[in-house]
Subunit: 364 residues, 2 copies
C-alpha cells in the first residue's frame, strides 16, 4: 500500500530532518552526497509494522519514530536522541517515546512552541528484564462506533482533567520513576493500574463522554484484580491506551504463563478460529498472520498449551467465583513480548524492504 | 416472601419511629391506642414494589421511605417531612429523598452523627410536568460479576473523588437548582449527563475499579449524544445509578416518543420475547408482568408502535451513521414514567395488601 506523506505531521518531520542533513561520505560503498544535495534527492520509504494498526496500541508512534530515526541515520544527522525525540513528537505525540528502548519518560517541557517537549530514557531494556508483556487484542466485533472525540475534547470539557494533570500525575511520576529504578513490581503495578483507570475516568468525564474500554476490557481487569487480590500482592499490571486492548505486564515469565492460562480459560478462541490455533499457534510464521498468538509463541509451551485440547482442558482458576463464565471469541489474538530496545539499523541485506538494485520496494 | 426486619437499617428506622409514636384516637373506626401501648403491639407489614429490585434503580430507597412514612402515619407521629427524611436516611441513604415527590435535594448536613443529613423538596411534581422518563432496564445476561466494592472503596481510594465532592459538585448543585426552578431543560440536561458521567468516572478511578455501566449503557449514551448533537440542543438527558440501566429524561411527551422509536430501533425485543411484545405490550396488566413496556404503555401508541411489525418497520434515525447496528435483546424491558408525587395514604380498602379481617397479608 502506498500512502501519501503530504500530511502536516509527516511534513514537519521531513522538514526538521532535512534541515539537519549533513554530508555523507561512505568510501566503502562509494557514496558521496553533499549536504545541499539532499534537497534534490528523492527517497523511497518502505515500512513494515508487525503490530496491529489503528487499534489504539501506538502503532503510528512506532512507525513515526522509526521514520525519523532512519532518515536521521540516512542523512547523517548529528543530533542526540533528545532532538530526534522532539522531531518525532511533531509527527505523532507519543512517537517521541519510541526513539528509545527500555523505560522512557515524556517531559512536558516549558516552551510554548513545544520544542522542549521530548522523551528521555530512564533505564534501558536490560535494567528490568524479568518483565513479560501479554497484549490481548480485543475483538473488533465488539468495537464501539469510533469516537471522533479525542484528548482535545477532554482538555476542553473535563473538570477532573486539570486536577489529574496538576495534582495527581506529578507525584505519581516521581513514584513511578522510583519503582522502575528499584524494580519494585508492587509499586509499579499499583501505579500503572491506577493511572490507566484514571486516564479512562477523565475520558468518561469528557463531554460527550469517550469510552475506550468495553465489556471485554472490564472483564480482563476483573480477572487480573481478583487474581492479584487472591495472591495478596500484584502479579500482573494492566494498562489500556486509546482502545479496548489490554496491555498486561507480568512480573516474570512464570507469572506470565499463569496469566496466559487464565486468559485462555476465559477467552478461548472462537470455533472458526480453531484452525488458527492448531495450525499456527505454535509454529513460527515470519509475518505471524492468522495466529491466535503473535510474538514469542514459546510462552504457550511454558503454559502447557500446545493444542486447542489443552486450552479446553484448562481448569478454572481457583480465585474465580463463577467458573462457567467463558467469553469465546471476545479476544481476537494475543501478543507475547518483552520490554525491548529502540530503533536500530539492520545491516543484513536480507532484512531490507527495498531492493538495492532497483531502489524500489521488494515485490513491487 | 417474608423478609426479616432484624437488620440494623430496619431497626434504626423502627426505633426512631417508635420513639415518636403518639396516642391514636380514631372515633370513626373505634380505635384507641395509648402512646405507651405501641411498645406492646405487633405490626403486620405487607409491601409491594412494582419497580425492579436490586437493579441499581433505588428500589430499596423507595421501599424504606414508604415504610417510614406509613409507620409514621399509623403511629400518629407528629413530625415534619424533614425529620421523616432523616429517619429514612438511616434505613437507606438515598431513601431520605423518597419521602417527597417532585424534585428533591439531599443536604449533607454538618453534624458528625449525620442527624441533619436529610432531603428537602425543591419543587413539587406539578412544577415541571412536561418531563417524561423512560428507563431502559439492561439485560442481566450482560451483567458483570457483581462488584462487592462500593462507595466506601471510592471514598478511600479515588484521588478524584475529593476534588469532585469539594469543587465540582457544590457549584453544579446551585446551577441545577436554578435549572429546575426555571424549567431550563438545556441546562438541566447538560448538568445531569455531565454529573452522571463524572460519578461513573470516580467509580472507575477507584481501586479496584467499579464498572456499573456496560457496552449497552455506552450505546444508549452514544445514541442520545448523537441525537442531541444533531438537534443542536438537548432533547433527552441520561443518568445512570449503581447499575447499567439508563434513566432517560425527555423534555416532553413528543420528544419521548421520538426517543422510544430510536431505542426500539436499536434495541428490539429478542425473538423469544416477541410474545411478550405482542401479547402484553399494549394491554394493561395490573402487575405488568412479562411485558416489554411497563408503566405508561400509551407512549407506544404515540410512537406508532402497536405491534412488533411496527418496531421492525422503524426507519433508521437520520443522525445514525451505521444504520445496521441493532442489538436485539440487550435491553430487558422499558419503563415509561413521569416525575411523581411522594408517598400517600390510600383510603380505598381495595388497594390494601392486608386483609382487614385477619390482619394478615391477602392471599396468605
Amino acid at each position: 500500500m502506498e500512502i501519501s506523506l503530504s500530511g502536516g505531521r509527516f511534513q514537519s518531520c521531513l522538514r526538521e530532518i532535512r534541515k539537519r542533513a549533513r554530508d555523507v561520505d561512505d568510501e566503502k560503498k562509494g557514496i558521496k552526497i553533499k549536504k545541499e544535495d539532499w534537497e534534490k534527492l528523492h527517497v523511497h520509504i518502505a515500512s513494515y509494522n508487525n503490530f496491529p494498526t489503528a487499534a489504539g496500541l501506538a502503532s503510528s508512534a512506532a512507525g513515526l519514530a522509526c521514520l525519523v530515526f532512519t532518515l536521521g541515520k540516512l542523512m547523517n544527522v548529528n543530533e542526540d536522541y533528545g532532538e530526534l525525540s522532539s522531531i518525532a513528537r511533531q509527527g505523532s505525540g507519543s512517537a517521541c517515546r519510541s526513539i528509545y528502548g527500555g523505560f522512557v519518560k515524556w517531559c512536558m517541557g516549558k516552551n510554548d512552541d513545544g520544542s522542549d517537549s521530548m522523551a528521555v530514557q530512564l533505564v534501558n531494556e536490560s535494567h528490568w528484564d524479568d518483565l513479560v508483556i501479554i497484549i490481548a487484542v480485543v475483538s473488533s466485533k465488539q468495537k464501539e462506533t469510533s469516537s471522533t472525540s479525542g484528548m482535545r475534547d477532554t482538555v476542553e470539557t473535563s473538570p477532573l482533567l486539570q486536577y489529574r494533570a496538576q495534582t495527581v500525575v506529578p507525584s505519581r511520576i516521581l513514584k513511578m520513576e522510583d519503582a522502575i529504578k528499584n524494580r519494585d513490581f508492587e509499586s509499579f503495578a499499583r501505579l500503572t493500574c491506577a493511572d490507566s483507570n484514571q486516564f479512562h475516568a477523565v475520558c468518561l468525564d469528557t463531554s460527550p463522554p469517550i469510552f475506550y474500554m468495553n465489556d471485554t476490557s472490564h472483564r480482563i481487569i476483573s480477572l487480573v484484580e481478583k487474581w492479584n487480590h487472591s495472591e495478596g500482592t500484584p502479579q500482573v499490571a494492566y494498562t489500556f491506551d486509546a482502545g479496548p486492548n489490554a496491555v498486561l505486564i507480568a512480573r516474570n515469565r512464570k507469572t506470565a504463563t499463569l496469566l496466559l492460562q487464565r486468559l485462555l480459560y476465559t477467552f478461548p478462541p472462537q470455533e472458526n478460529d480453531l484452525d488458527r490455533y492448531t495450525t499456527n499457534m505454535c509454529t513460527s510464521d515470519k509475518h505471524d498472520h492468522g495466529s491466535y498468538m503473535l510474538g514469542d509463541k514459546s510462552i504457550l509451551s511454558d503454559a502447557g498449551l500446545q493444542s486447542i485440547a489443552d486450552v479446553e482442558a484448562l481448569p478454572a482458576p481457583p480465585e474465580m467465583k463463577a467458573p462457567n463464565q467463558k467469553f469465546k471469541g471476545d479476544v481476537s489474538y494475543f501478543i507475547c513480548s518483552r520490554p525491548g530496545a529502540g530503533p536500530k539499523v539492520l545491516t543484513d541485506e536480507g532484512h531490507a524492504l527495498i531492493d538495492s538494485a532497483t531502489g524500489l520496494a521488494k515485490g513491487v
